[in-house]
Each structure stands twice: as structure tokens, then as C-alpha cells.
């Protein structure tokens, strides 16, 4: 939960609330890295130094020069929802509607001539939404959304309205493509995410990562693929969550994050005087049979990864390019040499490998290694003798499938009552039977009974965040989805998705203490 004053809380519970919002968009995407952030004791009040984002760490998006479009706003909507029950990558979405009576949002192609008429149709514009209440005559708003527009605005010339839509930075990063294949061995989830974010150009001030509990024996993200599915799968294996919070900070939370402060205390007690609607989802969410499937890979000792008798001709004073494919991702390749012990090649005067041994005439000109392939260039240094590549042996360290995990668990009483509602997780980053068992057990604990999920629509409490524990109807619930609307017909309301989540610490070597409260995984 974001920190707010007692006066803010009092206003949000008031029967008559004055709603305020601040919507700012960097239409021209002007970036000013000379902006200096306010430092107490150094900066002067009334000077040019800017107050940074609410989480106290200046983020990159603070450096854009924003237009204040608040007075044009007629409606706002934004939402985030964690990927229950498995966790994973969560992208937030937002939409803002503007009054376009004066033509501010009319683009050049529609005959517009406003100050932003050339920029209004371009995607990727950073925007910031804050919202809150006016009390004591002062607007008090807190961060709600930071993101980028992801499509051209919806322009309604007859209705004189324009709407923009966008996603947060998770939406941005999940669609970025990988330029170079990267492999990770024996690293925690957070270590792999940190490395991936660094590749994408995120600075450490822009994210906060819990220490991962799952240690991934081997992970690979290959060139040409998107970052999103890779991070999603990693985080899903952890049963954690990766999302961007209201202040614009990227967060990775492990499966035990909600056990610790401030998540282990009730943040807000919700009364019926704040609730507008209460509904229960159907049985689609019910899970009483869980199957976990995984074929994890791990780095192996040095071994032969290629052994062939190619028989290719290498003409005198010429080169031969040979592409080799491997069955598994290769972490290390020992370049073959003419007299190598584990990696070597042989050449002969005849194609069948007989005749004179001409290996001494041939050298390796170059070798390029890829994730599952190598390109080897041989050079025949003889000016007169052709030869044949009769033998090629290459050693390396592959990442082989080391296990074939399959577990199936069910909640018998739930199956009896509601019939089977199966759920399958197939994730190669789940590295052990123990981890798969505890994973299945946690899902059954949370989702085998239908009354553990509920949706409520409330008069907005803007400081609420994912994982906050709230008390409602005498029970404790966790927030896993927040959908906010702010307009003059609906009011300022939030639809909260709630789960009665059981959080169990399962014993993990290296993390848990003997005699502690962590349970042994079933």
C-alpha cells in the first residue's frame, strides 16, 4: 500500500469526495537528461530542480518533458491483474479520454494545428496518471500509472473527444526482441531477471527484485525471441510475480513475498459503506487437480558433442566452411585441433578416409559458436594436394535434459464435491520434484474451494496495491487485481479481485533454518 496521510484516508471514506487527477503526457517525447532532481540541503525551494517520482529514486521516465493535460480529461481507466494461480509477468493497461473541443488532440492529417498536432498520432508517448482527492482546498493525488501509449489515439471528430491507450513498461519490455542469445546456469530467478533488464537498458534504480527462491539449473533466451515469454516462464516457475507498480518501479516478488511486512498485516478494513457491488466468479477458477511437468536442463561435464566422418573435399589453397548442429544448447566448445585429445580432425588423400594422412596440411581458420550450432572454417595450406575431411570430433559442455518430472496432486474432498477441475503447468525451469510438489500443493490450497475468490467494487482507495491484505466481511483477503475507473458517470471506483491466499513457507536448503517454521514440502 502506498503511504498516505490520515487526512487523505478520511477524505476517501467521506460520503462527499472531491476527486482530483493529474494526467501528464510527453507528447513530443523531449528528453532532458540535464534535469536535476531536488535534494534537501542542496536544492533551493522555488529553484529549477524537480521533485522525482514518489518512490524516491529518480526514474528515467522523470526526464521526459511532460504536458499537463489534466484539464482536458473526461475519464480515466487503468487496470492490473496478477497471473493467478501461477504468477508470472503482468502488464498494466490504461486509457484516458480527453475533451477535444478546442482541437488540441486533432492531428495534422485531420486538419489540426495545435501545439501537439504533429505528435498526437505517434505511439510510444510516455504518460503519467496520478489521482486522489481535494481536501482543505488542496489537490492531493498519488501515483496511479506510468506507461507508454501503444497505439494511435482514438479520435472522434463529431463527438469532439480523443482517447489514448497504453501499457506500463512491462508491456513495453515483453514485446522487445532478443538480439543475442544468452544462457544462464545455476542462477536464481532474480539474477537472471537483473541480467535481462540490464540487456534491455533498465538501470538498477528502475527495479526492485526479491531474492529468488528457485534456482534454475539452466535457462536460455535465444536471439529473435521476445523477452516477455522468457521472463514470464522464469517467474512462473518461481510462483512469483513480475509487474510494475503505481510509481513506475518494476518489481519481482518471490512466492513468499506476501509473508513479510507490510503484507502480513491488514492494510484496510473495508466496510459495506464503501462497497458498491460484490460478486463471486464462476467455477472456472476452481482447481482441484494439479499436474506439473518439467524437463529441466543442466550443464554437463566436458564430453563429445559432435562425432562425424564428413568426407568433404578441401581443395589445395582453399577453405571449407562446415556448419554443425547440436542436439542440446552448448555452453562451452573446445575448438578442434589437428592433434587434440578430445576435439580433433583428420584429413586424408581419399574420400573414404584411406590413403595418405594429410592432417598436417590443414588448420582451423576460424570457429564461431552459437547456442546449438558451430561454424568451422578449415584451411588447406598445401599449394598442390587436395584432401578430404575424414574425421571431426568436437567436445563441449552441453545443457542436457537431466530429469523428467511429472507430479499429479489432487484435493479429494474438492473432487468429490465439484468433480475434477484439472490444471497443468509445463515449465522447464521447475528443477526438482520437491519444488513441483510444493507448487502443486500451494495451488490446491488456494483454489480447491470456490469461496476463496471474490470480486468487490468499492469507492476507490487509491493507495491500495497488489498483495495488500484487506479485511472484508470478517475475512482476510489479498488483492490480486485492481481495475480503476474515474469519470463523472461512474464516479471514482475500483473493482478489486480478491483471493484468500494461504502462504506456506516450504523448506529450502540454503534458505530455511532447521527448527524454523518452514514446512517440508509434501
Amino acid at each position: 500500500m502506498q503511504t498516505v496521510t490520515a487526512a487523505f484516508t478520511a477524505e476517501e471514506r467521506d460520503t462527499d469526495r472531491k476527486i482530483v487527477q493529474s494526467t501528464q503526457i510527453a507528447w513530443k517525447k523531449s528528453y532532458k537528461n540535464t534535469i536535476v532532481f531536488f535534494t534537501i540541503g542542496v536544492s533551493t525551494i522555488g529553484g529549477t530542480d524537480l521533485i522525482p517520482s514518489a518512490d524516491s529514486s529518480p526514474s528515467q521516465w522523470n526526464y521526459y518533458q511532460y504536458d499537463n493535460d489534466s484539464s482536458y480529461v473526461t475519464g480515466l481507466a487503468y487496470e492490473r491483474e496478477l497471473q493467478e494461480p501461477t504468477g508470472g509477468l503482468t502488464a498494466g493497461m490504461a486509457e484516458a479520454q480527453f475533451n477535444n473541443t478546442d482541437g488540441r488532440y486533432t492531428p495534422r492529417t485531420f486538419g489540426g494545428s495545435s501545439a501537439i498536432f504533429t505528435a498526437v498520432e505517434k505511439p510510444g508517448r510516455p504518460f503519467v496518471i496520478n489521482a486522489g482527492f481535494n481536501y482543505s482546498g488542496i489537490d492531493n493525488s498519488i501515483p496511479q500509472f506510468v506507461g507508454l501509449t501503444d497505439r494511435p489515439p482514438k479520435i472522434d471528430m463529431r463527438g469532439r473527444t480523443t482517447a489514448i491507450q497504453g501499457t506500463d513498461f512491462v508491456g513495453f519490455l515483453q514485446n522487445q526482441y532478443v538480439d543475442n542469445t544468452a544462457m544462464f546456469t545455476g542462477q536464481r530467478t532474480d539474477q537472471i531477471i537483473a541480467s535481462t533488464l540490464a540487456t534491455l537498458g533498465f538501470s538498477t534504480a528502475q527495479y526492485e527484485l526479491d531474492t529468488g527462491i528457485n534456482i534454475v539449473p539452466f535457462a536460455e533466451i535465444t536471439a529473435g525471441n521476445k523477452f516477455g515469454p522468457f521472463i514470464h516462464k522464469l517467474v512462473q516457475a518461481e510462483n512469483g510475480n513480475f509487474y510494475q507498480d503505481e510509481t513506475g518501479k518494476l518489481r519481482f516478488q518471490n512466492r513468499q513475498a506476501w509473508n513479510n511486512a507490510p503484507y502480513n498485516t491488514v492494510q484496510r478494513i473495508i466496510s459495506t459503506g464503501q462497497v458498491i457491488q460484490q460478486s463471486n466468479p464462476n467455477y472456472d477458477h476452481l482447481i482441484n487437480v494439479v499436474e506439473v511437468v518439467s524437463k529441466p536442463r543442466a550443464k554437463q561435464a566436458l564430453q563429445i558433442i559432435h562425432n562425424s566422418t564428413p568426407g568433404n573435399l578441401i581443395k589445395a589453397n582453399s577453405t571449407l566452411e562446415l556448419f554443425l548442429s547440436y542436439d542440446d544448447p552448448i555452453l562451452q566448445v573446445t575448438s578442434p585441433t589437428s592433434g587434440g585429445a578430445n576435439s580433433y580432425y583428420l584429413t586424408n588423400s581419399l574420400a573414404d578416409g584411406t590413403g595418405t594422412d594429410l592432417t598436417a596440411n590443414v588448420s582451423i581458420k576460424s570457429i564461431s559458436n552459437f547456442a546449438k550450432a558451430s561454424k568451422v572454417v578449415f584451411q588447406n595450406n598445401s599449394s598442390s594436394s587436395d584432401c578430404y575431411l575424414s574425421k571431426l570430433v568436437i567436445s563441449g559442455r552441453p545443457a542436457k535434459i537431466t530429469d523428467d518430472i511429472y507430479i499429479r496432486q489432487q484435493d479429494d474432498s474438492s473432487v468429490t464435491a465439484y468433480a475434477e477441475h484439472p490444471f497443468k503447468i509445463d515449465n522447464e525451469y521447475i528443477g526438482s520434484q520437491d519444488w513441483a510438489n510444493s507448487y502443486a500443493q500451494m495451488i490446491l490450497g488456494d483454489y480447491s474451494e470456490p469461496n476463496k475468490l471474490q470480486n468487490i467494487t468499492i469507492r476507490a482507495i487509491p493507495e491500495l496495491q497488489f498483495g495488500d491484505m484487506i479485511s472484508w466481511q470478517g475475512r482476510y483477503w489479498r488483492i490480486y487485481g485492481i481495475k480503476t475507473k474515474l469519470d463523472d458517470s461512474t464516479g471514482y471506483v475500483q473493482e478489486l479481485k480478491l483471493v484468500q491466499k494461504i502462504i506456506v513457507n516450504y523448506f529450502r536448503i540454503g534458505f530455511s533454518t532447521i527448527g524454523g517454521t518452514d514446512q517440508i514440502a509434501p
Partner: protein, 118 residues
């Protein structure tokens, strides 16, 4: 003691109606209480009726209206009567209809001037 629109004193109307215009969402919660969310501040509207107005007084008002339409810029509105005052407020102008009750040479007219706080 005057009615000043866009810096020009206009004739006092025969009657004035001032209305409040709030933007509010009213919600009834499960607890039964009715709650309200207000968006923006209250905006006032003045509906002023003019009867048997000579063409000079009408032209004064109509000139301001036409300028407003041309420029698309809100204008200031001030009332400084003894017991009714409005401090300087930016307003939109509507002057929808003019009708003539007395023809002859004077063409005295009736119309309604509507000013809406911006």
C-alpha cells in the same frame, strides 16, 4: 453598479436566473448510504432575460457575442450591483434568439443572454 461583459457595460436585464452546475456521480453502497464523488468545481450559469430593448443596447451585447464566436475565447463577466455581485469570472456566451414585439421604427426586441462559467 453595473453589468460588465468583456470590459463593456451592458444594459441591466429585466430578470436574472443564476444556476449551479456540478459534475457529480451519486452511488449507493451495499451499506445503504448514498455517497457522492464530485469532479471539478461548481460552475454557475446566468440566464438573463431582456425585453423591449432598443437596437443600440442589443448591438452592444451582440458585438461582444460575435467577437466571442470569432475568437473562441471566453470573456470576463462582472456584476457589481448593491446587493448582488459577481467577481470577475470567465464565461462562455450564448445569444440564441432575438424576437421583436414592437416593430415600427424602433424594433424593440426581446432576447435571452446566457453566460456559462468556463
Amino acid at each position: 453598479m453595473s453589468f460588465v461583459l468583456s470590459g463593456t457595460t451592458i444594459k441591466a436585464p429585466q430578470s436574472i436566473s443564476e444556476t449551479n452546475n456540478t459534475q457529480v456521480s451519486q452511488i449507493r453502497t451495499l451499506g445503504g448510504n448514498i455517497t457522492r464523488d464530485y469532479f471539478g468545481s461548481n460552475k454557475r450559469q446566468w440566464i438573463m432575460s431582456y425585453k423591449t430593448i432598443n437596437s443600440t443596447d442589443f448591438t452592444t451585447i451582440n458585438t461582444i457575442y460575435q467577437t466571442y464566436l470569432t475568437t473562441g475565447t471566453t470573456v470576463s463577466w462582472v456584476i457589481s450591483e448593491t446587493n448582488y455581485t459577481v467577481s470577475s469570472t470567465l464565461v462562455h456566451i450564448d445569444l440564441a434568439q432575438r424576437s421583436f414585439s414592437t416593430l415600427g421604427t424602433d424594433y424593440l426586441s426581446e432576447f435571452t443572454l446566457t453566460l456559462t462559467e468556463a
